[in-house]
């Protein structure tokens, strides 16, 4: 018998009588505007700079002022193609991204309780992009902020499929040396969130 069949046989023999799954019901009573405020407070703790912009024109203006002078800037947002190099599809080996200084990517939505932004492969083309870049900028619509992770997964279940997805909550970090927080462990050293609308 294969290890698979042996393991499954042994597990079946030893698993106890069925215990029911709970129905998860965590009601949210606060308003959307309160979620946005909660998100901004959370991001500040996570060392994420927050910029509120009315539309893409305002975003472009701000990017040109603040971020564009970087050496190599890429984006996966079509509206930003005239201020940054647009990546529309995977054309090269992902290793070619090793010298990207700033990547500007969209997120499907953000979660107020923990500052996490939900990003899937179709939004970033290269899975490694938000990790390999030195600085990360995420653009999310103000209306696409939810409060907690239960709402987040309801939203994920209701939207399109993904091959790879990731919640990103700030720049890469470590506290492995004597519990001292250091930003930029392996991934981005800093992150900015652009709240659109």
């Amino acid at each position: 018998m294969s290890s698979r069949d042996n393991i499954l046989k042994e597990v079946l023999k030893n698993q106890p009588a069925d215990r029911a799954l709970p129905v998860i019901d965590i009601p949210v009573t606060t308003t959307h505007e309160e979620w946005v405020e909660a998100l901004k407070t959370r991001l500040e703790i996570l060392h994420v700079a927050v910029r509120e912009v009315a539309d893409y024109a305002a975003l472009k203006h701000l990017l040109q002022q603040e971020a564009i002078p970087q050496d190599r800037t890429v984006t996966t947002i079509a509206e930003l193609s005239d201020v940054s190099t647009l990546i529309e599809a995977v054309k090269e080996d992902a290793h070619s991204l090793e010298d990207v200084d700033l990547a500007i990517i969209p997120a499907h939505f953000g979660v107020a309780e923990n500052g996490a932004m939900w990003v899937t492969e179709s939004l970033i083309q290269y899975r490694v992009l938000p990790f390999i870049t030195q600085q990360l900028a995420i653009v999310v619509n103000r209306k696409d902020i939810v409060y907690n992770m239960h709402q987040a997964y309801q939203r994920i279940a209701g939207t399109t499929q993904y091959d790879f997805g990731v919640f990103i909550a700030g720049p890469s970090k470590t506290a492995d040396i004597e519990q001292s927080l250091v930003l930029g462990a392996h991934g981005p050293k800093g992150m900015t969130l652009y709240l659109l609308g």
Partner: protein, 458 residues
């Protein structure tokens, strides 16, 4: 990678020789426990979440065979190559075969306690394959040729000056430099080069979802993603108990995990791997290694609910003052002390005694494992098997004999009171472990029995 220590009490004595260092270790871990408290108290529904998590895990254990098959079916449909390993040896062999097939002799690995449990690094190194651990804490202990001492904070027992010295030797940092920012930047440069040149990456798995066939890996550093996305081959290894039924259950576990572990509301990255990239091979190894047998033990199966947050270690007064290595296993602390006897009762017979049974571990556990009750139950099993600590065996036998003879009991009580009164040094010496860091109590003038006889007429 298991340390050579075999007895918790002996190792704890060694650890306690350096008292200021023990105090430092104790305070560092308590600081993390306090951060956990702040994070959990900020969530009004915290206790409800713990209850949900516990119920979901109970459901998983009671339907594990079905969920494993559902997960396998969905993962295969997603294009993942699924392997099954009965034990550590088969797990190591499967990983080695994948490396051989791709003619690769170097690999990056992000944190996986399972591979520590299986001794994968040693096995591969023995076969001429270089493994580089990419979690900063794991890289530090790897350079020092030590196992991690904590499952979330692998080098919590290291001081920055020592890490500076280690990096000076291995990475060429400035002599005497100990600034965490400087040292982390040096490790970043060293490991970035490694990520860019390795074709195989191995990661652990935090949760695997039966419903979708995806698996989730949580890190703060981004090391799992840097490795996995840049490699031609991604190997993920997990114990069979890491399955959860539905995607929506991730909400409960991701809310609990990081808050319990470090007091963060979520780790920086929670990566959901469903399908391999077009040019990539994705392997998933499901490992039993004693878990299916463990599942059959009514008193002990609950420990399979563990999500490896380490809250029980950070809060444990024994762990904080004895250090992770004294538990001589990949998973230390209270949870390690109830998991490891299931795999090897004799080799880990000391661990259920490495506790005060204060119950703090059970109070902080996000999936409500009855940790201190299981510690107590393991002691009963071990005493019955004749595997209790030698001194305890002898003293228990002596006590049983004295308690069965009332006259002898009275006499021994009197004798003890006299000894404490007139020759306290007989018990207040280093031979008596109770006397270490404690004074013996003042002896009462009479026993309760004598007092009762005198006073009952009143």
């Amino acid at each position: 990678m298991h340390s050579k220590v075999t007895n918790h009490a002996d190792a704890a004595i060694q650890f306690n020789l350096d008292e200021p260092r023990v105090d430092w270790h104790d305070k560092t871990l308590w600081f993390i426990r306090e951060k956990r408290d702040l994070a959990s108290h900020a969530i009004p529904e915290w206790e409800q979440l713990r209850e949900y998590a516990s119920q979901i895990k109970n459901n998983v254990l009671s339907n594990l065979s079905q969920y494993l098959q559902e997960f396998e079916k969905n993962a295969i449909a997603n294009g993942v190559i699924v392997h099954w390993a009965a034990d550590a040896a088969e797990h190591n062999q499967i990983v080695h075969e994948i490396l051989k097939k791709h003619k690769v002799d170097r690999m990056v690995k992000s944190k996986s306690m399972l591979t520590e449990e299986c001794g994968l690094n040693e096995h591969l190194e023995h076969n001429g394959i270089e493994v580089i651990d990419t979690d900063l804490g794991e890289r530090i202990v790897q350079l020092a040729k030590e196992p991690p001492s904590h499952i979330v904070l692998p080098c919590i027992h290291w001081k920055k000056e020592e890490i500076g010295e280690l990096f000076h030797e291995h990475l060429g940092t400035d002599k005497g430099a100990s600034d965490p920012k400087y040292l982390t930047a040096a490790a970043r440069e060293h490991l970035r080069e490694t990520f860019l040149t390795r074709r195989v990456a191995l990661t652990g798995v935090n949760f695997a979802v039966a419903e979708t066939g995806e698996f989730v890996v949580s890190t703060n550093e981004g090391n799992a993603d840097m490795g996995a996305h840049l490699a031609d081959v991604h190997i993920a290894c997990m114990g069979i108990e890491k399955i959860i039924p539905k995607q929506e259950h991730l909400s409960v576990f991701l809310r609990l995990l990081a808050r319990s572990a470090t007091g963060q509301p979520i780790t920086t990255y929670s990566s959901h791997f469903k399908k391999p990239q077009p040019h990539q091979e994705m392997h998933l190894v499901l490992v039993d290694n004693g878990r299916s047998v463990h599942l059959g033990k009514d008193d002990f199966r609950n420990s399979l609910k563990c999500i490896r947050c380490a809250a029980c270690m950070n809060t444990c007064p024994v762990y904080r003052r004895s250090g992770g290595h004294s538990y001589h296993n990949a998973v230390a602390g209270p949870i390690g002390s109830i998991l490891t006897p299931n795999f090897d009762m004799r080799a880990n017979k000391d661990l259920p005694f490495a506790s005060t049974l204060c119950g703090s571990c059970s109070n902080v556990c996000p999936v409500k494992i009855d940790i201190h009750d299981q510690l107590y139950k393991w002691r009963q099993v071990l005493m019955k098997e004749g595997l209790g600590p030698t001194a305890k065996n002898a003293s228990m036998k002596m006590m049983g004999w004295v308690l069965s003879k009332p006259a002898l009991y009275d006499l021994s009580g009197k004798a003890a009171r006299l000894v404490l009164k007139y020759s306290p040094f007989v018990v207040s010496n280093k031979m008596n472990p109770w006397y270490k860091q404690r004074e013996m109590p003042a002896p009462p003038k009479e026993s309760f029995k004598e007092w009762y006889k005198k006073n009952r007429s009143n």
